[in-house]
């Protein structure tokens, strides 16, 4: 069996080292080794986007990345999006727009939405639908998701990325 490798990365701001085999995908290592189970496995072949994470700010399907490839990279996963007491505006807007049902696709959608709004702070509906084409949702219906993204853009334009306090 191929020797395990040590990989050093930053995950959600924390310097992290892990051991992996060359054949392990980033998704496998996140879920099975690092216990970061927010990224979901839908298709394992790059079609559904449920496993989307950001590598150096770019959205990727973590099922199509080898864990050894991310040596030295800066990784963001759904676990790093909210602050301890506050949801990220994108999360808040998905909630308020009921832009999720079973929620399997939601971590991926939120990571893609974050990446979209980092690139383009006021996307048109067409821009949103095109950018999110690599994320599939089986249950919600895309209109609610598009509205959640539009609201996120507005909220972030007025509030920045300051979190929204969770009402407990």
């Amino acid at each position: 069996m191929a020797k395990k490798r040590v990989v050093s990365t930053t995950i959600n701001g924390n310097q992290t080292e892990f051991l992996c085999e060359p054949r392990q995908t980033l998704l496998e290592v996140l879920r099975d080794t690092l216990n970061l189970t927010g990224a979901k496995e839908g298709c394992s072949n790059g079609n559904c986007g449920a496993c989307t994470v950001l590598v150096d700010g770019r959205p990727v399907d973590s099922c199509l990345v080898l864990a050894v490839e991310i040596e030295g990279a800066d990784l963001e996963t759904i676990e790093g999006v909210a602050c301890s007491e506050a949801l990220h505006p994108v999360q808040q807007c998905y909630l308020e727009n009921a832009a999720l049902q079973c929620g399997i696709c939601t971590p991926g959608f939120i990571m893609s939405t974050k990446a979209l709004l980092d690139e383009n702070s006021s996307p048109s509906e067409d821009d949103i639908r095109f950018y999110l084409a690599g994320n599939l949702c089986r249950c919600t219906g895309y209109d609610k998701i598009v509205r959640a993204v539009q609201d996120s853009a507005e909220l972030m334009a007025s509030n920045g990325i300051d979190g929204v306090q969770i009402d407990r």
Binding site: S44, G46, D61, L66, F130, G134
Partner: protein, 298 residues
């Protein structure tokens, strides 16, 4: 997934040596958007993956008066994010914007798209239309092959054992030039081309007549097809509906599609002509500096 070793050389000579030394049991890893799935599903059974993304030669992205140099491993998002490419090599940017969704575009390279050598690869018709030359390195040195000669059969190409694609070289478009790629798919995005057409045109100073044109077709044959006669016949012709219709008919003549779940022979032949007309019109509008009416995904 199958057990394999992983190397990420930083010198081209080391990559060639590793590849040649592996006697066919190594595969090159660019963005992995084709390769990783092929290994996972057992279609390919490599013992070694050689990551080529750390090779400087494969990351070149340089547009100058003498043309464009595009490293084989440069990912799609960097290509359509480059203003020189969107304005002077538009067909290439058009292709890269519709390969998969953004997650795929963060990783997928044009080199991988070409070397995977699928008949429906969305960037290959653009490479052919834009006159790209493939620079190949191997144990016996470097050689060059025209993009239209690269693919030889479905999933097969001219690369010999131990060879890899280093970069694509494009001539600088002269005078009033424009190019475009589009495909027909039943959805708006994230699907495999039923037919794809790329074209590059150069017009005379008046913008009324063709100086030259190159047209290439995807998904209508065992490899992408260079519709050379269709483009050559436009040289010296006025750029109008008649000449465009004649080129579309000539492009349809060289299409050799098959029936499959994505489309019939009849549909594909028809769509080849329709898309050739539309793509030429958009390329002409771009050459003239007019609004091109193209909305991505529509």
């Amino acid at each position: 997934m199958r057990d394999f070793e992983y190397e990420a050389p930083t010198a081209l000579a080391d990559a060639v040596e590793l590849l040649a030394g592996a006697n066919g049991s190594a595969k090159l890893l660019a963005g992995g958007t084709d390769l990783i799935d092929h290994v996972r599903t057992g279609r390919l059974e490599p013992d070694l993956l050689i990551d080529i993304k750390k090779l400087a030669e494969l990351n070149v992205l340089e547009a100058s008066d003498s043309g464009l140099r595009l490293g084989a491993a440069v990912p799609c998002y960097q290509i359509y994010g480059n203003e020189q490419i969107t304005s002077n090599y538009s067909a290439l940017a058009d292709s890269c914007q519709i390969i998969g969704g953004v997650q795929i575009q963060s990783r997928a390279s044009v080199g991988g798209n070409l070397c995977n050598s699928g008949p429906a690869a969305d960037s290959t018709p653009s490479l052919i239309a834009l006159g790209a030359v493939c620079v190949i390195a191997g144990p016996n040195g470097t050689r060059e092959v025209a993009a239209e000669d690269f693919c030889t059969a479905p999933r097969q190409n001219v690369l010999e054992a131990g060879e890899l694609l280093v970069e694509l070289k494009f001539p600088a478009p002269g005078g009033k030039s424009g190019s475009h790629y589009r495909r027909f798919i039943p959805r708006n995005e994230m699907d495999i081309a039923v037919v794809g057409v790329g074209a590059a045109v150069t017009l005379d100073d008046s913008g009324e007549n063709f100086v030259s044109a190159r047209i290439a077709l995807g998904a209508v044959g065992p490899t992408p097809i260079f519709a050379q006669a269709a483009g050559d016949a436009l040289a010296g012709q006025p750029a109008n509906d008649d000449s465009i219709a004649a080129a579309a008919a000539a492009a349809r003549e060289v299409a050799t599609p098959i029936d499959d779940m994505r489309g019939t022979v009849e549909f594909r032949n028809h769509a080849t002509a329709v898309l050739t007309e539309r793509v030429l019109k958009t390329a002409i509008a771009r050459a003239r500096g007019e609004a091109d009416g193209y909305t991505i995904g529509h």
